[in-house]
């Protein structure tokens, strides 16, 4: 972000953004969180209260912490999720993408985030498939085919950087091509389309409502990240294909929000109850790695290599996992790929804020040893408590299972990266198993 001309101004605007975002969820229900626009009405200056020393430092710090915290408090009900996903990412490559309201340009930023999205998507969904399409000159063009290999998509998106956005986009053409790509996918996986849409119009060859009807009958869910303003047809498209749920349509407020909207999609969607009938038992191979003394050609790319994995059914060699065996079609994965999805199925519970009353139990974060602010006198409690929602007055967060206290950074880290509670895992107590661990059968893989 550091730009030589704008550095000074940059600091100020970033602060403002933060305040707006933080403030956004206070007055209204969280339901509309993705809808955008409500921040325009918020009075960010009113949240600033001078501290005892006459500065606003403490309030600003509190807001920062609340901002961190806000992203954490997601629903931790263990839902059935569509772990095996088929997703088509459709990028708007029309002339409206050359606008510079998102910097450097909408186009370049979209491509950068698209690459991050691909990486994160396969990180979170190792046994899923992804394809990338583009909308340019009223046509849909294929950027990369459906595959489970992130590098193919990354190079294809990288190649787009040398081209310029031009022409008008067509939602309908994009949807029809995505529908064609998703047509053959098996019914046990999800079928999803994600648009990054910078235009305010769609120049379609036919009736898009018919296309939406066919999408519904094909059980394809569409999500859209808008870059300009809300568009009625986009809203209708998302609402109808998601069974009345509006949250799949979001309009980016700024670069950061744009990124968040995209990254939200990497979490596997909850499976709907009607789809239960389509869950199935999949045959998969767990190959072992071999290293040969002489290089041989791999079946997937016909490139000579010494290392590789032999298909457990037909013994052809593939160079990377997860993959589908090119000769017999068996899905080849590592058991670790399966384990990587478990945290979606068995999420870590949210930690709760600790009031001053219970704060004296700890003086430092259990995990990282950061010392907490000491407990003030009792008559100061009330004053500190009207601070901000979402954050803990005492800067402590408590895991309800192991009753240890943690700092905000460890809270964030535990829920977003490790998906373990340091306290619960460090003590051998019977309560441990019912928090982050699955029911009995799920733990025996190593045996």
């Amino acid at each position: 972000m550091a730009d030589s001309d704008e550095e000074y101004v940059g600091d100020v605007t970033e602060d403002e953004d933060d305040l707006q975002v933080t403030r956004g969820d206070n007055p209204r229900a969280k339901r509309k969180q993705r809808g955008g626009a409500e921040w325009e009405l918020s009075r960010t200056w009113e949240t600033l209260v001078e501290g005892a020393d006459g500065t606003i430092n403490s309030t600003v710090e509190g807001l920062l912490e609340a901002g961190k915290r806000k992203r954490l408090l997601k629903d931790t009900t263990p839902l059935q999720r569509g772990i095996i996903r088929h997703l088509i990412l459709i990028l708007d490559l029309s002339q409206s993408m050359s606008e510079k309201d998102l910097r450097p340009t909408r186009y370049l930023l979209t491509l950068r985030y698209a690459q991050e999205f691909v990486r994160e998507f396969f990180e979170q969904n190792p046994i899923s498939q992804l394809g990338v399409l583009g909308l340019r000159d009223g046509l849909a063009l294929r950027v990369s085919d459906m595959s489970g290999n992130p590098t193919e998509h990354l190079t294809a998106i990288q190649a787009l950087k040398t081209q310029d956005p031009k022409g008008l986009p067509s939602l309908q053409n994009g949807l029809e091509m995505a529908r064609g790509a998703l047509f053959h996918t098996p019914s046990h996986g999800t079928r999803e389309v994600l648009f990054i849409y910078g235009s305010l119009l769609s120049s379609d060859p036919g009736d898009i409502h018919q296309t939406i009807d066919t999408l519904i009958s094909d059980k394809i869910r569409v999500g859209i990240v808008g870059l300009a303003a809300q568009v009625a047809i986009c809203r209708e498209l998302c609402t109808r294909t998601n069974g009345g749920d509006e949250t799949a349509y979001g309009v980016a407020l700024n670069e950061q929000h744009f990124r968040e909207l995209m990254m939200d999609v990497t979490t596997p969607p909850a499976a709907y109850s009607q789809k239960e009938s389509s869950s199935s038992l999949l045959m998969m191979g767990f190959p072992s790695r071999t290293v040969e003394s002489n290089p041989s050609l791999c079946a997937c790319h016909s490139k000579p290599s010494r290392g590789g994995y032999l298909c457990s059914r037909c013994n052809s060699k593939v160079c990377n996992l997860p993959a589908e065996c090119p000769s017999c079609g068996l899905t080849l994965i590592l058991s670790t790929h399966l384990a990587r999805s478990y945290h979606h199925l068995f999420p870590l519970i949210n930690w709760v804020e600790v009031p001053w009353r219970r704060a004296s139990r700890s003086s430092a974060c259990f995990a990282c040893g950061l010392s907490f602010p000491s407990v003030p006198l009792e008559d100061h409690w009330q004053m500190a408590e009207n601070n901000t929602k979402g954050m803990s007055v005492s800067s402590r967060y408590e895991c309800t299972a192991c009753r240890n206290h943690f700092c905000i950074d460890c809270d964030l880290f535990a829920h977003e990266v490790v998906h373990n509670c340091p306290g619960c895992q460090s003590k051998s107590t019977p309560t441990r198993s019912d928090v982050a661990n699955p029911p009995s059968g799920g733990m025996d893989i190593t045996v």
Binding site: H188, N242, S279, L281, R289, R340, V417, T446, V447
Partner: protein
């Protein structure tokens, strides 16, 4: 952006190479150490590890170290000790001069960081061993590896954040994102582009326990491994006895070093030769990694090791053959047998019936999600 407006060259400052943080997880399972008593008693191993720590600290004046014990009942910090009661009074980092330091004669000729690590590690380890009762050990052969790894990761995270804050110049963008509080899903913070500019951290696991009892920790351990993989923190494994499949997978997935020591008495030599170089040096070295990592999975139903298995598409449990009644044993979902398995399972009337019921429901649009089991 910098490449667009040609301001890239402003950021090329002369920065020192960042120091490295070494976190050592010591498996202190008394059962396993008792088996090693003849060749390498715990006291000797700790002495070797302390020499190794000193060597690491001596490589760069800013290098840091942390030591976690993975005991049978709990995982605990050996160094730095966070809850040391005697230090509670001073927040300035000064040593409190009270009776506590007088119990041992202070070794004034020793480099202070060496002495601090040595004192704390030995003292805390002694505390842990003293607090372990015979009851705790009875029938408990496992070690809290998942907890130790999680603690190590939290500490690494804290130090990485702190280091990035202190050296804001090196990665302004990250610091800004951090400061905003809206900046980071961790991938941003640890993206590969600035790998050279952040604190280099790695984890060394000195392991003695076998894997048999660790099965109940499988998912937490795997979660830690994936976290390491995401943050590109290598997990080095120094295996003194036994063999743990998931530690092999850990070092393989995070590109760390895995060594099973043929001769435990040579621990120090192994440590110095194989585990001392940090990530930057390792790029120029040929590392002693393992090539034949066991990746096969065991099924949930009979614990057979399988090459080809059946996987439930909802909960990802692995079965060696289609489960009876084609209901998943873990999550209870009724499963359609995929095309691949059809020949084996043609005469199954019950399944057909269900499918008819299911088909009636598919026509209606999908509504609210229901929580699973």
């Amino acid at each position: 952006m910098n490449s667009v407006d040609a301001s890239e060259h402003y950021e090329l400052g002369a920065t020192d190479l960042p120091p490295s943080l070494l976190t050592i997880v010591i498996d202190t399972n008394p059962h396993a150490w008792a088996l090693l008593e003849d060749s390498l008693p715990l006291s000797k191993a700790i002495a070797n590890i302390l020499v190794f720590i000193n060597a690491h600290l001596a490589c760069n004046y800013a290098n840091e170290v942390a030591v976690v014990a993975s005991h049978t009942q709990k995982a605990a910090w050996l160094y730095p000790s966070h809850n040391a009661p005697r230090n509670r009074s001073d927040h300035e980092g000064d040593v409190v001069m009270n009776g506590a330091t007088d119990t041992t004669t202070p070794e004034t000729n020793k480099y202070r960081p060496f002495r601090l690590v040595e004192e704390q590690v030995t003292r805390n380890l002694k505390e842990i061993m003293d607090s372990t009762t015979a009851d705790d050990l009875r029938g408990n052969m496992s070690t809290m590896l998942a907890g130790a790894l999680t603690l190590a990761l939290s500490h690494t995270n804290r130090r990485t954040l702190a280091w990035a804050e202190e050296h804001g110049g090196a990665n302004t963008e990250d610091a800004a994102a951090e400061g905003n509080g809206n900046g980071s899903t961790a991938t941003n913070r640890y993206s590969a582009s600035n790998e050279d500019e952040r604190l280099q951290s790695r984890i060394l696991v000195v392991s003695v326990s076998g894997s048999i009892d660790a099965a109940h920790q499988y998912i937490p351990v795997m979660n830690s491994i994936f976290a390491c993989q995401r943050l590109s923190i290598p997990i080095d494994v120094c295996k003194l006895s036994g063999d743990a499949v998931f530690l092999q997978q850990a070092s393989d997935a995070t590109k760390g070093v895995y060594m099973a020591l043929a001769e435990p008495r040579g621990l120090l030599q192994y440590l110095m030769m194989a585990f001392l170089p940090d990530q930057r040096s390792r790029r120029h070295l040929v590392l002693p990694t393992r090539v034949d990592v066991d990746f096969r999975a065991a099924c949930f139903c009979h614990r057979r090791v399988v090459d080809v298995g059946f996987v439930c598409s909802i909960c990802l449990s692995i079965f060696c053959e289609p489960p009876p009644g084609s209901d998943c044993m873990t999550c209870g979902t009724h499963l359609d047998i995929g095309d691949n398995a059809k020949p084996a399972l043609l005469p199954r009337r019950k399944k057909k019936k269900k499918r008819v019921n299911g088909a009636s429901g598919t026509g209606t649009p999908m509504s609210t999600p229901t929580p699973g089991p």
